[in-house]
Subunit: 356 residues, 3 copies
């Protein structure tokens, strides 16, 4: 009796041949964001941006409350997609067109929907790449976050016939006019740079400038597990040491989002007035991170732009590099052969909104 | 001067001969449940039930807010009893007649009272078994939780004369008519199964069906210590590695409630619409869990019943088994000699309330 | 081009010669205290004082809500000073005149200001001692906390000429008339000693009495890192294992405030009605604590005083000793040569407010 086998009711995730172009997946478990989530986020990464830390500071600027960290929103929206999109993923290949569109406050409830916008079987017929555009919405159905990600997913059956490849065209860079809709018009005269922890404004940064964020943060198993569960991300590789023993690395892999959050928190030291992550143009996990590794980060300003209609804030485009066990005073980067030097774990191309 | 010895003011816990039949113990430290507790609970176990995760989802169904996880209530009420009941316990022997009677919301304040309902000295005269009925109440004095537990407690003095044995008669199974008072009448038409993460309703489960909950969760020292302190549970064995070095296992023991919470959270995968733990008919910690172990779980449906007066929800009686370092695709169970196979750590007999 | 070196925008902290007598430093990152912070604090230390745990209990006594633990206030106010005062500190030498002046509730926003009140170069010309008076204020600009601390800070340049030494005169003991402004007039008739977890009032303690707090708590890396980040304390020594490998201890050092919080939480067992830490007369970290160590504590009552104008509460002056890996049933203390015996990590001289 197949019923008594029981596997029928547990979700085993989708394989490559289960996805259809244009398919819309409404993901499970809407999640109300609370002040507990915000505290845990602070305790896990140590962020110090004043706008997200103090409701008084945020209100004086023009927010109705302290907005939650943009990456809490990203991780919660992302986490919901895992059971449907990437439970059988072999690799998270990339991100594009990621935009934070509305502020999220404690008490808001987030849910996620993904649309399949591309499918490409690999030549080996054992795997394929799935492209999805995921939108996170609040309880008023406002889109608060939108991004594209593509993952390599296993096929259940090598012989399964799949549709012709469709690879979406994606923007290399989010347009400056699409930034900062999550930032209300700010009363900049009331912006207190001492309280904010930095005296550097938009005008003070120059293209080509490199900033070592100096500090290092060692990650423990308990920390990344607590972070990843907080986002209700169920990817097995982060939690199951018994299974991991038999895997290639023999260790639990740390969710890539933990690295992004650590790098962002470390970047306060040098980018303290760039309080809003407005967009991620692209991102790549160069190497895995494991418990016991120490994360460092540095940033290069690769562009700066006015934001149409805004005299309060401007946009810095940064290329942020995170490393493991390699301090960043020498800005570890690609070598002559264009490969990243040993120790680099993350390359992120992002737009930050900063006070003018 | 005995005063200067100082031990007089520190609580050293009760020994077997300190308990009296009918004795009522009002336990210390009333505790207001906050959204921080809920976030920590999510970060520690990774639960994904929509009713507890989203106030919007809960309100649409008929709750006044998202209720907190039933096991938060259990652990908080239980934790308060430890200094008075089980500080000198050798073993937690069992649970019965555990019923969750009212929803608990963020902002409610819980306190615990226990009545001694049975006492039985062991033949060796060195220990005895204490049976207590513990009730957890909110700030309006509503009983939100009631359960019986029995523990083996050390005697201070082997020669101490104790009263005749009284062993209470306990129900093997909570009656279906006593379930679901913690669930308001639900507007089932608004129950969104996609958001809930499961398409399986009451009618879809059959008696005898076994469900492998698939995922595994490795527990770290920091995680179980943070969980157990959150519940203000003071049992030394969970926290003191220096003392544990000289003990039988040489390790800190993980609070059994951590295993119950992990199994319950894992059971979402296969029982996603069974959002309420209504009663625990019996439970047994078969073997201890230590940091570094990976917990898996499976469930067998052993009964299903209508709940009198309710057309919105039904009750599934499940026997849930949790293991350490043994995946559950083969449903590890008792062997021919009726002993549990290696790796089983928990057997729990519980009633779940599920959408019809 | 120095700009491209990038170090210019990251804070590298002040060296001894950067400080000026009378200098006022407004520290970064105002912080709204939330119920998430309170839950995390409970999960990290396991405190059980009823006043801080239950809003119902607190309100019945006369508080408008449950106040947050005094040491949350201390750690948050202290954490903000680290980037400006002690990023280049070699040692945290002492505390004095620390007073908790107003209750802090969830929703209050704290910020910190420090004034340099003393400077003394060391004979080796390589370091100096900086004395600061730090005040923590809430969003209404009420001072909630004031304390003096002195730290040994590196000089950037041994040859730098510094001003003449000024060493402030500090009180050995905070006056009883300066205690308890953070405690509203209490309706003592409604104080429930069973719920509070102790039957010992002000009158029950005698000068010279020693109290072993019995329990031990082992600290994990994840726990102290999460605690220290929660307070946005950025001292590198707590977080960077890669750098620590090359240091004297080869390990991350645990923030001394973690030891203070653990000792205070353990002291509930014996001082359960001393629910308010009113003042710290002096404190000294005798030895470092590392992950894996188990903390124990004991207290000696060294004075007791009426608080002028208060018939509801009195003040106990305690000398609290915390140890690592040494249980305190024998009250480990100074040896014949006045040096602390092996295992002592903290000596704290504090005023506690207790129910009469």
């Amino acid at each position: 009796m197949s019923m008594s086998k029981g596997v029928s009711k547990a979700n085993l995730g989708n394989c490559f041949e289960d996805f259809r172009l244009g398919q819309v997946l409404r993901h499970a478990t809407p999640r109300t964001i609370t002040s507990g989530d915000v505290s845990l986020y602070t305790s896990l990464y140590g962020g110090r941006f004043a706008v997200q830390s103090s409701k008084e500071f945020a209100r004086r600027l023009g927010y109705r409350d302290a907005p939650v960290d943009d990456l809490i929103v990203f991780h919660v929206v992302f986490g919901k997609t895992v059971p449907d999109i990437s439970l059988n993923a072999i690799a998270n290949l990339g991100y594009a067109e990621c935009r934070f569109l509305k502020p999220v406050y404690v008490g808001d409830t987030l849910s996620s929907v993904s649309e399949v916008i591309g499918l490409r079987e690999n030549a080996n017929k054992e795997t394929g790449v799935v492209y999805v555009r995921t939108t996170g919405r609040n309880q008023r159905d406002d889109v608060v976050l939108s991004y594209v990600r593509w993952v390599m997913v296993r096929k259940r059956d090598k012989a399964a016939i799949v549709a012709e490849s469709v690879v979406p065209e994606l923007l290399k860079v989010v347009s400056p006019s699409d930034l900062a809709s999550a930032v209300p018009g700010l009363i900049i005269a009331d912006y207190d740079m001492m309280l904010a922890g930095s005296t550097h404004r938009f005008a003070d940064y120059v293209i080509g400038e490199k900033i070592d964020h100096v500090d290092g943060m060692t990650v423990e198993e308990a920390e990344h597990q607590m972070a990843t569960r907080l986002y209700q991300n169920t990817a097995k590789v982060h939690f199951d040491q018994f299974a991991a023993q038999g895997s290639r690395f023999g260790r639990r892999l740390i969710y890539g989002g933990v690295v992004i959050s650590l790098a962002r928190a470390l970047s306060f030291n040098g980018l303290g007035n760039a309080f809003h992550l407005a967009a991620i143009n692209g991102g790549r996990h160069v190497a895995p991170l494991f418990a016991g590794d120490t994360v460092y980060a540095w940033s290069e300003i690769i562009d700066k732009q006015d934001i149409p209609g805004r005299s309060d804030v401007g946009a810095l485009r940064v290329r942020m590099i995170a490393t493991k066990n390699v301090p960043c005073s020498d800005f570890p980067n690609r070598d002559a052969g264009d490969a990243f030097v040993e120790g680099v774990v993350l390359e992120l191309d992002a737009w930050l909104v900063i006070i003018r």
